[in-house]
Symmetry: C2
DNA sequence: TCAGTTACTATGAATTTAGTAGTAAGTCAC
DNA sequence: GTGACTTACTACTAAATTCATAGTAACTGA
């Protein structure tokens, strides 16, 4: 008895992904497409409503509905009623959604280095006024990732 | 006269993305799909050859050809001849490709926190033996991203 | 010569995406 | 209280992408 309404799903492929032992693959099963990431980006900027996302992204409403539903189901967004009559809902980031911000900044940092030219949107620390320069480090060693050799451990070993 | 062979391209949509002022959007135009990221993941693990990627990912060869070509064109991978007769090429990470590692780790860190259960692949510092715990900070303030308020500056302002 | 390897291309069906139009339940202006 | 407008969608069709399988080209090694 399967009552789940499946919104957005690249089933054949992505269902496999979410069961893999690799956490990168599992995560990509949820957010491994550009629309989902851009919606999360916009949510971090402060957008919450269907039409705000639609206008910002130029996305087809069907796509937006599917992505918002998926992100809500997966716990990155939360649907919240902000008006009873007429019933109006908005989408706000959950903790899991907010914790996705470092991924977006890491992507942005890569883009600044390798696709930087022209006019770009920039992010500043609101207090110090300095431009944010994202750096991903290993909390244990404090070293930036990529500067030290890595060992991989597969499950069941 | 357009002689460009276009491999993988979600043209109508993604061409727009690569011209946007947002660096996240620009980056996603190149790597904003699960296959591309998983190929980069495998490349970091040490895979270089067509069939290695194909078997690791279970990807259709048409897809793999398209993604490898795109990643090569975009400068994240480099095609290198490793055998002259018969001609055989392998794909190795460029500096831009290697610099994508923090993004993958940031995604993995999110996954560990929110999609962690069961058997997972883990990464360790080869020297200290401690598990890698990725953290994205602002190089300027040293603060983890998401802990301080941010100001956004759009181009032309 | 014959199976095996490697890096693909060809092809067609299934699935997803895009784009436009329309709907439901209201509000607001006059 | 009629018509214009808003908001959050759904319906529908066409276009594009993706998947899966099969096949090819150029070898090697037994």
């Amino acid at each position: 008895m399967n009552l789940v309404v499946s919104h957005y799903q690249k089933d054949t492929n992505m269902k496999k992904l979410s069961d893999q032992p690799c956490l990168i693959a599992r995560s990509l099963a949820l957010v491994g497409d550009a629309w989902s990431m851009l919606i999360l980006r916009d949510a971090h900027i402060g957008l919450t409503r269907f039409d705000e996302f639609r206008k910002s992204l130029g996305i087809a409403p069907t796509m937006l509905t599917a992505r918002l539903s998926a992100l809500t189901d997966e716990g990155l967004l939360e649907k919240r009623r902000y008006l009873e009559r007429p019933p109006r809902d908005e989408y706000v980031l959950t903790e899991a959604g907010r914790d996705f911000l470092p991924v977006l900044f890491a992507i942005g940092a890569w883009g600044r280095k390798y696709r930087g030219g022209g006019e770009v949107t920039r992010f500043f620390d609101a207090e110090t006024g300095t431009e944010i320069d994202p750096l991903t480090i290993d909390r244990g060693t404090g070293a930036p990732l990529g500067t030290r050799p890595i060992r991989i451990e597969l499950p069941g070993k």
